[in-house]
Symmetry: none
Subunit: 411 residues, 2 copies
């Protein structure tokens, strides 16, 4: 089954809006054993005609988004009807639904809105519970002149499209392709190994089998390692994957590193306090993005100024004078100070040079010290080098600090 | 000039990753007078060949992303060389750059990584300052067998692609199409007004003139109001725009709210300290994303636990007991405590309920108190309601707090 997606909307190509439809379709279709073979974005207007005709030639199912609304640039419905040679008729049920919806919200019904109630012959109406324009479904046809795939016209706004897709489109696709779900999907979230290292440890071996599709997606200091194939094969190779990835495996599935860390802390009834300098609160932000973080995270100290390192978490001023604010003794004192000040079980101290300014020959931009303190244990501290832009520096540094804590919690 | 974008990556079609490249390209190209006519997403592997050949027929400039890395699913470089009939040779400079980069980060050089140093004949190398795989530029060619557009192969990771695009691709495009920018572009960054309000205040009037293209891009509590047209027209209407937007105008261009706030603080030689509860360090993170923030931001206290509110910034424990941690007196005490503890000129205190848990009938999820203290002035505090998801709650709350400080600094 070849599925294509055609997203229409000038705002997507101008960069006013990021296209989230594609990723959402992809995630919804996969459990049905269906995958998207190609996606195209076109501007509003006449280019849609050419895009539809090309896609008709290539695919069995075509999902089109956008261009169903009331304004002049919304012409997907009309162009489709014209290509398929279908007459349009006004549907009284849709008019009534639009009128009722507008009345509930205190808006006036305008004549142009009637366009949204026009239904091409042979199309099934997909009701819109969250907006005015309904979707349309055209079953596949084949004539001497034109063969068309199963064609779905769907509204552009995600809050209208998503429920319509789940409620109306997925059941149709499931009925069309009941046996499609032969393949399964597994994703392994890896930290502390580059994608080449993951490939070397396990990816090449699995790719050589020939019965699994192997893929990689790399982000700052993390890799999603992806396997697609029959469920029994995935089950059979999983022990090999786990052995190869070892403690670099953060989660099976899409659990983020911070979710895993908060989960481990909760499970063990432990807490962590932070003293951040160069990461400026980003580590606290990441932890507190996880619901329930308040149980495990009492306090973060963003000690940007040297005096605050001393005042807030008790770093001796003479250590800062002797070793510099970016130094191992200061990072250790920050971690231990955060721990004891907040009465936590763990303390993390981070001090470094995010850049673009502030580097020296001895400590260039990207230098960072990360210390992990634990009640009753020796504090450990490492020096890292992440010479990159300011935002990525924060990504890599917090990633390293979280992973340090994760490994300690799993030990 | 017809520009197309071809994004490769199975993860985009499976929905593991949202494609942010297209929107970013669109925004970067527009100021050059260039617009994207079509974008296509294809999976890794052989489908790329067909996608390239089709695009060659349609466009003058083709931007391809992804598939340049070291793993087996990265084959964009090889397929392109094959289609164009170009031999590949290993580039010693790239090998050395990869080795140096890996050495700096303590990673081993692996034989497979050499693939990234292969350069097709006639291609220009676009250095990658933030990763291992360089980009490649093939100038347009035309032979009896094949006409090709200006072709750019770019890495998939945004932090590698974006600087490469800005530093290497845009200058080439600017040289190719010096006259394209007949139209000018102006963007007004607005906070505290919705897009309908911006439209009502000024957008409709300008749209009715007929010689300006008017657009809006809304994000949580901010709107980019966009005008496209001849420079003289844009100059002529600017006073109207400024008058209509008033102090809701944060910046002309793309200056973020935090950049504007840090700039105002630096210009006035003032500092701000933070006490954050529900925003969990996100406000500190936003401020410290701005280079030079260390001059104006001495300290942030992420006082998640009640005891830490008392210990770190001196909120009286009996106030927390009497009014609750999420209350106006506590927010005020947090702002004043942060200010005095850090010796800053301003203090911001934020306490609220981010959700999903923790709401009550009196203080439902989304309730937040934001207090602004200033040395020698009365502290002000407002109660806001942002009932939404956790991430958007943090966006909206920090946006409101930053804007409060911005208005005070402009008063």
């Amino acid at each position: 089954v070849t599925i294509e997606v055609l997203n229409t909307g000038t705002e997507l190509l101008l960069g006013q809006v990021v296209n989230t439809h594609l990723a959402w379709f992809g995630r919804e279709l996969f459990p049905l054993g269906l995958r998207i073979a190609r996606q195209t974005t076109l501007p509003d207007g006449a280019a849609i005609r050419q895009g539809l005709l090309e896609a008709f030639d290539r695919c069995d199912v075509l999902l089109v988004t956008g261009g169903l609304g009331p304004t002049t640039d919304d012409i997907t419905r009309e162009i489709t009807a014209e290509i398929l040679g279908r007459r349009l008729h006004e549907d009284a049920t849709i008019v009534a639904a639009i009128e009722a919806r507008l009345a509930r919200r205190g808006f006036a019904f305008r004549p142009r809105m009637r366009r949204q109630a026009m239904v091409p012959e042979g199309a099934t109406v997909l009701p819109n519970g969250n907006g005015t324009a309904p979707g349309l479904y055209f079953p596949a046809t084949s004539t001497a002149a034109l063969a068309t795939p199963h064609l779905f016209l769907l509204p552009g706004p995600p809050r209208e499209l998503r429920p319509m897709f789940a409620d109306a489109v997925l059941p149709i696709l499931r009925a069309l392709h009941p046996a499609a779900a032969a393949q399964d999907f597994r994703s392994y979230h890896v930290v502390g190994l580059g994608e080449s290292a993951v490939e070397e440890r396990i990816g090449l071996t699995l790719a050589e089998r020939g019965d699994l599709e192997v893929g990689y997606c790399a982000r700052p200091n993390e890799v999603d390692f992806r396997l697609i194939g029959p469920r029994e094969t995935l089950d059979a190779v999983e022990p090999l994957v786990l052995a190869a990835l070892g403690d670099h495996l953060v989660s099976r599935g899409n659990g983020t590193l911070e979710e895993v860390v908060v989960g481990l802390l909760r499970a063990q009834g432990k807490t962590v306090a932070l003293a951040e300098s160069c990461t400026g609160g980003f580590l606290a932000h990441r932890l507190t993005n996880v619901p329930g973080a308040s149980e495990v995270f009492p306090a973060g100290y963003v000690t940007y100024a040297n005096a605050v390192k001393t005042d807030a978490v008790g770093v001796p001023a003479e250590w800062i004078a002797a070793h510099g604010a970016v130094s191992e003794p200061v990072a250790r004192a920050m971690a231990e100070g955060a721990l004891s000040r907040a009465g936590a079980d763990f303390g993390i101290g981070i001090t470094g040079i995010a850049g673009p300014g502030g580097g020296t020959a001895e400590k260039p931009v990207g230098t960072v010290f990360i210390a992990l303190a634990e009640r009753g244990q020796d504090t450990v501290c490492t020096r890292e080098a992440f010479p990159t832009d300011r935002a990525t520096f924060k990504d890599l540094t917090t990633q390293a600090a979280l992973d340090r804590l994760r490994l300690r919690l799993m030990a």
